[in-house]
Symmetry: C2
Subunit: 376 residues, 2 copies
């Protein structure tokens, strides 16, 4: 079986005093220390990162991580699948352990975003979309705004409904000292925030974030077991999709993950889902089977997915309030689930959590990774 | 066992009429057609690419390749390890098949480099090196020039000795219609070419190239079997290395690969090695055990590694003369080996080739991948 034996997250935020290299070292050393494993036992390093080449001029992060961490010679690479890079890295580690290619894998998700202007970052992020979408002048929030419009039309939702995603995730983040925005927000604040791409306002959007997260995965008994690891894709461009009110890649990956784990959505005690925009969390809770299609916004407002609700979602604060260093996000979700399953989540701890799910999306839904973890 | 059931290479060169997307489609469809496999059977797509985010504004190539090839839903990602991205992608496919995570994997290596200025490309390539090397003003040819200087001092080699690498690889390329420079060159041409970073002249350097290569790998009997797949790393920065006259990552990956395959260097009938610069091929034939350390330049000059020699090296023309679209190179090496083992290499065919080796390097040696293939 495959266990997560170590987990670590750096503070997420505008980290002016930490470089990409610093974040790799802090998270890597943190996860290794948490796993209490000797560096000599690490036989594979996978780095998840999207934008370091474009924003920082540094590619080749696999070898670089090995150099920085004193893991000379160890096989290593970087994986990129836009904002799903972290989820893919976890999946690759599962595969490597299953194949016998590695016994103890260090996975580091890292992104250093804030050193550039917002314009440069917005342009860089559109590399996760398609050529025609870039040529149309769309931004990422614009792509999700299009989906929100279709969703509004079909299910009679409104801007007010979106706001409850931000309110919930900020409330959770206020209990997470690692979060970029560890404070609650009021309905009025959300609704009065600037419109970015109608109907999405500032508080519907995840922020630009520096940060890293790392886990050690091992072929061993004990700890927190990964009982499903599945990925799926869809077209990069919205125009090629069958529907704009769901992410097919999420549904497909989730279906395969539930089958692999032998569990159903009702068995999930907590989840971290990919709320890059408020509409994305609404679609995610539906696509993952946590509620019916078209009911997500009502259930979020009703408190179903709150700490203390029937299935707490995004206890870390999610991408919205914990922050979204894109390559790190999928790994951070695993760190949060492991922290919860271990009972180490302090004020935001879910009681008797046994099974957790992590859902990581790339682009506007072209890649999805779903992992299910179980406490042993 | 793991077989390469399909292989395809696009023309390498300055492909002004083909976009990144066009190259993905041509190579992907080409490999699928060669494998005579239905698209429905492909259950994993891996894209090897280094610079598309930086040079073309397009990341997320795994999902994009699925969209372009009509492989909707199939798990996919992009891997990056500088110029070794292709070799790592092959290794990931081997691992996925061994783990039972996939049965038929499509691997595409692709790079579109020529749409930018030489300055932009040189800067982008330095992303494979380390921060201190960039700050020192070094270029990639400068890094290898430093290694050449140390090699010259230690083994009494000279610029003239380097020239025979280019002469051999251009001679081979003249027999390969897919090569960027399919023509022979004379000693005088090489020696009189411009000095780029002393002692390396223009003809000591691989060119800037557009191109793609793809293979289909399957868990099946028959065809061409991959009998070893190993990767290793070393420090990204030269200043951290023990020696500058060898690539430790190459030696380590080769040692593991020979052990995995149960063969020795004497058993290898042909090889594609990573000759990004002439000095790199000289170190490679030594580090791979094809001759003693310090003897590489003499053996190359003596014709040991020529078509018709005892162990033909870089029959495709190598990176030097076939071209070096960085993400594609490691996959193209596999395509060349498979073409040779199938007996389909026409004028450059090695007689009775049974075992071939592919050697792919990232950066100035921070990543190395070694694959050994056998004809069944």
């Amino acid at each position: 079986m495959i266990a997560v034996s170590g987990a670590y997250q750096t503070k997420f935020g505008e980290l002016w005093d930490q470089s990409l290299e610093d974040l790799i070292v802090e998270s890597g050393e943190g996860a290794l220390a948490d796993a209490k494993i000797s560096k000599k036992k690490i036989d594979l390093v996978i780095v998840a990162n999207m934008l370091s080449g474009k924003l920082g001029g540094q590619e080749h992060l696999g070898s670089l991580a090995c150099q920085l961490l004193g893991l000379n010679g160890v096989p290593a690479w970087r994986v990129e699948a836009a904002c799903a890079s972290g989820g893919i890295a976890i999946n690759q580690a599962v595969t490597a352990i299953k194949a016998g290619a590695a016994k103890n894998v260090l996975i580091i998700g890292v992104e250093k975003m804030t050193d550039r202007t917002n314009g440069e970052i917005a342009t860089a992020l559109m590399a996760a979309a398609g050529e025609r979408e870039r040529q149309s002048g769309l931004t990422f929030v614009g792509l999700y705004a299009l989906m929100a419009r279709v969703y509004f039309d079909k299910f009679k939702a409104s801007k007010d409904d979106l706001a409850y995603v931000a309110i919930k995730n900020h409330r959770h983040a206020s209990l997470n000292p690692k979060a970029q925005y560890p404070f609650p927000v009021e309905l009025e604040t959300v609704l009065k925030s600037s419109c970015v791409a109608s109907p999405l306002h500032l508080f519907d959007c995840s922020p630009i974030t520096d940060g890293a997260a790392a886990v050690v995965m091992s072929s061993e008994e004990g700890g927190t077991e990964i009982i499903a690891s599945q990925i799926a894709t869809d077209s990069v461009e919205l125009t090629e999709r069958d529907s704009l009110t769901e992410l097919k890649a999420t549904k497909l990956a989730a279906l395969k993950a539930y089958a692999e784990a032998g569990v159903s959505p009702e068995d999930i005690d907590l989840a971290e889902v990919h709320d890059c925009f408020s509409i994305a969390e609404i679609m995610a809770v539906e696509d993952l089977g946590f509620c019916d299609k078209g009911a997500g916004f009502k259930k979020i407002k009703a408190g179903d997915f709150d700490l203390g609700g029937r299935l707490p979602v995004n206890l870390s604060g999610g991408l919205k309030a914990c922050g979204h260093p894109v390559g790190a996000t999928g790994v951070k979700q695993i760190v949060e689930i492991v922290t919860q399953l271990r009972g180490q989540a302090d004020q935001r701890q879910v009681k008797n959590a046994k099974i957790g799910l992590a859902h990581n999306v790339g682009g506007s839904g072209a890649t999805a990774a779903v992992h299910i973890l179980r406490k042993l």
